[in-house]
Symmetry: C2
Subunit: 80 residues, 2 copies
Amino acid sequence: MKVTVHVQRRPDIADPQGTAVARALRDLGHDTVETVRINRTVELEIRGTDPAAIEAEVQTMCERLLANPVMEDFEVVVHR
Amino acid sequence: MKVTVHVQRRPDIADPQGTAVARALRDLGHDTVETVRINRTVELEIRGTDPAAIEAEVQTMCERLLANPVMEDFEVVVHR
């Protein structure tokens, strides 16, 4: 079963990579760029047939490894 | 105007980071994990009111800086 996890820094946490990309884009002449934030999406293929059980397991994976609970929020989407 | 760019490696290009995460998840006991791929999402705030012009400009930003055209595909979504 396919599962997508969207991971993003909390809005109040600075994103230095996004800030650097915004500056680089402006340096290239794209001066309408106001802000850039860079997030990640983890696409998993999980063996199993029970969407609720898979969602719970991926939630645990996020807490243990896929996201940094101090700085990041995450959302788990199971594609049924 | 908010713009989201989804960047992902082409399916035929290996994703070593995803492979390492899959192995780490299995080592933690999540043995239903088959594959993991890690993509990125760039969230931009662009000054302007013309969605078509903004989409064209962000397309150019992707080709110049936000994506690696050799290895990655990208999709630009303008939130109207």
